[in-house]
Symmetry: C2
Amino acid sequence: MQLSERKIKILQAIIRNYLETGEPVGSRTISKYTDLNLSSATIRNEMSDLEEMGYILQPHTSAGRIPSDQGYRLYVDTMMEEKDRELEELKEMMLEKEDKMDHLLKQVAKLLAVNTNYASMISAPMIHTNKIKFIQLSRVDVNQLLAVVVVEGNVIKNNIIQTLETLDDETLLKLNILLNTHLNGLALEEINLGMISAMKQQAGIHSAIVGDVIDAIAESIKAEEDLEIYTSGANNIFKYPELADQQKASEIINTFEEKQLLTELVQDTLADEKNTGIQVYIGNETPIQAMKDCSVVTATYELGEGMRGTIGIIGPKRMDYDKVIGTLKTITHQLDELYKNKT
Amino acid sequence: MQLSERKIKILQAIIRNYLETGEPVGSRTISKYTDLNLSSATIRNEMSDLEEMGYILQPHTSAGRIPSDQGYRLYVDTMMEEKDRELEELKEMMLEKEDKMDHLLKQVAKLLAVNTNYASMISAPMIHTNKIKFIQLSRVDVNQLLAVVVVEGNVIKNNIIQTLETLDDETLLKLNILLNTHLNGLALEEINLGMISAMKQQAGIHSAIVGDVIDAIAESIKAEEDLEIYTSGANNIFKYPELADQQKASEIINTFEEKQLLTELVQDTLADEKNTGIQVYIGNETPIQAMKDCSVVTATYELGEGMRGTIGIIGPKRMDYDKVIGTLKTITHQLDELYKNKT
DNA sequence: TGTTAGCACTCGTCTCATTGGAGTGCTAAC
DNA sequence: GTTAGCACTCCAATGAGACGAGTGCTAACA
């Protein structure tokens, strides 16, 4: 069967109505709601077709219809009217000097949650390049060295190294020069054993330290791998009765608390290269089992230089897709701008 | 009325029973439960007294009794049999090299939650002294300086400073020496305008930088003030029907998500100096409104040098106080040990 | 005087039947 | 192809009745 013009209009009306109310919607409601003047009986016939085609379903025999996952999917793919959103707060927020990345991300997460009334998450940008920009070794105590590594994108990593011997200023200076001349501009993977042994040789009696420092650097950079995720508004799910029952709520809350469980979502979003930047997971389409009764909308943001992160909104299936997608587009766009203005 | 020996035993039995079951407990149950061989009728009379005295209450006329806040309070203050707990996992966890404070804290929070089946929180230690131990200024880019500040307790802070002029190595070295000789060993509050202007004078044409650096340092150290709190196991509350209803769950979850709301709890715990280290807030005793239907048990841990933080367990009023307090004592003790072994 | 048995009473919970209404599907007429 | 009408379904809300856990009180007992 083909989806006639009229069927589409009716489906659209059903979904819109259901998004608003969360109640199954009946034929009479639609016959009043739409501009095509049809009686409820006609609508009923069409609805019967739509159900057969899998776009809507009945919770029980004598109830109205609700959209199926397939129905939502069609809606999102073809029928949405994306609402552009002005997020003044965001602009203001970004105008304030927000140096600390984690603060900014937390703020964005919160802003999203408050603005949409859904739950939100944001992952810190993954640094793909991880090129070392600068290394600094300093003595903070008789047998403690502080290693500071700055990588591309001004991400700073610290590590304290315990040493057996006490290094004097001159040696320290030499080591610093040695490290910087050899390692600057390199990514972690580019550092090979040959280089290390060359450096050790040059370091002479302090060769042990060189090894420790490189270990410390490797550790600092690698630590980034378990990527940081910030969330907000998890308790918004209680606003939607279909998610608020104990079983579901508990699972969702748990996922939000064990943020690492959200990693899959981030991976999945980032993996999809060809995409316009926005992805919508409806119900079972989600990679996270706990969210099979939700819809998840994710977007990729980019802070130049291959630093990419993910923003996501998690809500009920009857989420206001138009608004959410509009909001996410605005946010990612603003994050781009932010980066441009910073550099 | 006096609390006779027998009344105490009965009250204890009521509370113990209620802690297990979560159901109001009746006179017949107690008459079988206790070793004092009394009929249910006698128990009833005693229970009537206990109710009048405010230690127990009836949810409705023909139901059994449940402990009141006052009853729990008496129990915690005088009748508990603290269970000592061996936490092998904790020891193992701490044996592994856990350099990163935040990782350790997250782990501890999780361990607590899993172990007790309640929700847990832990605040990062507040650094009271905040004495500057070491300052390092480095050039990472033509017009970018990296300021690293290490404060007492090896807490490291970074800040990137934009400069108008490009500083050469020699100037940078001079500035470093200038900053370290003037500021090392001082707390933020001890830096006064006199010192700053003295330093600026010595810095000559680079005096502007000195101001910027001091601002950056102040900012880094102050940032510590909105203290970090880690939580775990919030969704454990769903295991206790009396907390699992939407209204309450939502409030509690929200508090856990907006971690700053837990600050009050931390403040309150740390403020109470005279205490043995463990504090119990039963129901309305809590400083956090959202937790008025919970009990909260907090402990202070100390990592030497005035670095103190708070650990807390949040659960239903019928929490297993004996176990929780035992666990918290073990944990704080282990954290102490950890610190000793590190230094 | 403290303890106990017995009994009437209360009140929440469970079950079951009833009702009302929203909504459908089908049929026949337009 | 559209619509009115009607029988039918099924959920949700309501209320009556039975049940039982538990109490308070009284009177009797050691």
